[in-house]
């Protein structure tokens, strides 16, 4: 246990001190602030109150940027340490392989969550003046969904890092995977869905196979439990599983997107020259 804490602390310290994480936190905070202010501005122009459009903008931001940050952070982890010879020195120590993988993961989760917290913290300060008690649950769900999907991105990045030949290859693969989840699968569904008669079950499967989409649906279900904002698909999932069941299904899918890549990274570790 003390070794796990040592590895996690080492990774967290290194990530926080690196310029990359500091820069990412700054960019995410600036974009979050801009989305929040633009959303609130559009409300005022219409003479409305509340946080609706601002939180809708934040949902889309939260399921796009933090997973990319997680993917890139994870992709650089093992592959970068391997290139520097540091992974060999760490792996030669009497530390179980799982401890190394999970320690690296936990340390980077800490750095990633800190980055997300800084961004959303700024948004919360701005929204505090206009939010009412009813807004707290959807905003809370948005934060939880964002943290979960960014963690899934990180786990996928670590898995890529465990297999990749080098840091550059790992980062390229991570970016490609992000494009697949953020755009590619939606485009494929839009193009092929009608032709193959996907139906609601096929659409649900496609959502579960895309952690970004699962997190977006989860945040939107929390914001509007009736599921009407999600159209016929929302009506199907809430009708078939209930709101709680649908949320549990989506949360379970994201949890699997975290656990499975870590297991894959652990499997790859002894099979790959360090």
């Amino acid at each position: 246990m003390s070794r796990l804490v040592a590895v996690a602390g080492w990774e967290l310290k290194g990530a926080i001190r690196s310029r990359w994480v500091l820069g990412t936190a700054g960019v995410f905070a600036a974009v979050t602030l801009a989305v929040t202010l633009l959303g609130l501005g559009s409300l005022r122009e219409l003479g409305l109150s509340g946080v609706g459009p601002a939180s809708a903008g934040l949902v889309n931001l939260g399921v796009l940027l933090p997973p990319l940050m997680g993917l890139l952070l994870g992709a650089g982890s093992l592959a970068g340490a391997r290139e520097r010879g540091l992974l060999a020195m760490m792996a030669a120590q009497p530390v179980p392989r799982w401890t190394l993988i999970v320690g690296v993961f936990l340390g980077l989760v800490g750095a990633l969550w800190l980055t997300v917290a800084i961004g959303f913290g700024l948004a919360a300060l701005v929204l505090a003046g206009v939010a009412d008690v009813g807004d707290l649950a959807p905003l809370g769900a948005l934060v939880v969904s964002t943290l979960a999907v960014s963690t899934a991105g990180l786990a996928l990045g670590i898995a890529i890092s465990a297999f990749a030949a080098g840091r550059t290859q790992a980062v390229a693969l991570a970016v490609a995977l992000w494009f697949l989840f953020a755009l590619g699968m939606d485009l494929a569904l839009a193009g092929l869905g009608p032709a193959v008669h996907l139906g609601p079950k096929g659409l649900l499967a496609a959502v579960l196979l895309n952690p970004l989409e699962a997190a977006r649906i989860l945040a939107m279900l929390a914001a509007e439990p009736s599921g009407t904002a999600l159209g016929p698909f929302g009506a199907y999932v809430t009708g078939a599983f209930g709101v709680g069941g649908a949320a549990a299904l989506l949360a379970g899918a994201i949890a699997l997107w975290i656990a499975a890549p870590l297991a894959l990274a652990r499997w790859a570790f002894p099979r790959r020259a360090l």
């Binding site: 040592a6 010879g85 060999a88 020195m89 530390v95 002894p270």
Partner: protein
């Protein structure tokens, strides 16, 4: 009286990268208190051999450290490993690096290197020279008094004083029972330090014998791994 079991035993150890064999049927033993230099021309498998024994590379054949399979948790408890190149993070201090690796080893962080060998604890790694960083990496390999040291070109980048200090320390740890396998393309550097020379050529052991005086060096020169000073003068 029963002979003491070896600290390191390899049998038919082989490693290929794709179709290219790097190590072929490498077999030898190393007993406590022995310092062996592994030599050979560039690309003959010296580093790969050390990496296999450290459990960092999958291989065929057998390698055991103090009776435990190489790479197992039990074996790693007794091994100190220094890779050929290591780039420590620049944004941590010397003290933080040593403390981190001491925690991984379950060691107390006590440094057995001579006083003044290491840069001050509070100095960031980013401001250290190549030689100073190498000294920190050597200190990591020696943490916790390992029974077997696997050192890949340990004195690269070190100045004369640093080399002397390190060899002296290595002799000291061997005297109290540790064994060391030192990869070096310049085995002459270990004359007077190593007891034994193992020469690799295209992944095979072509010489394994005592490093007594000129005997081994002559063999090494014959294999083109150590320049002959007479030729150099000519």
């Amino acid at each position: 009286m029963e002979r003491e079991s070896p600290v390191l035993l390899t049998e038919r150890l082989s490693k290929s990268y794709g179709p290219h064999p790097v190590l072929v049927d490498v077999g030898f033993t190393l007993r406590a208190g022995t310092i062996a230099v592994v030599s050979g021309a560039n690309g003959t498998g010296k580093s790969t051999l050390l990496r296999c024994i450290a459990g960092l590379v999958p291989f065929e054949g057998t390698a055991s450290v103090s009776g435990a399979p190489a790479g197992s948790l039990e074996a790693r408890r007794t091994v100190g490993y220094l890779p050929q190149t290591v780039s420590l993070p620049e944004n941590v201090t010397v003290g933080e690096v040593l403390s981190f690796f001491a925690k991984l080893r379950g060691a107390d962080g006590l440094c057995i290197l001579p006083e003044g060998f290491l840069p001050a604890d509070e100095r960031p790694v980013g401001v250290l020279s190549g030689g100073q960083r190498q000294r920190v990496a050597l200190a990591i390999a020696l943490l916790g008094f390992p029974k077997l040291l696997l050192l890949d070109e340990p004195v690269a980048n070190l100045d004369e004083l640093g080399r002397e200090g390190f060899w002296e320390t290595l002799r000291g740890v061997a005297e109290v029972g540790a064994a060391a396998l030192v990869a070096s393309p310049m085995p002459g550097d270990l004359a007077g330090v190593a007891d034994r020379a193992i020469v690799l050529d295209e992944g095979r052991i072509v010489f394994d014998g005592p490093m007594d005086g000129d005997h081994a060096l002559v063999r090494l020169r014959a294999r083109g791994t150590e320049p002959d000073p007479r030729e150099a003068r000519a």
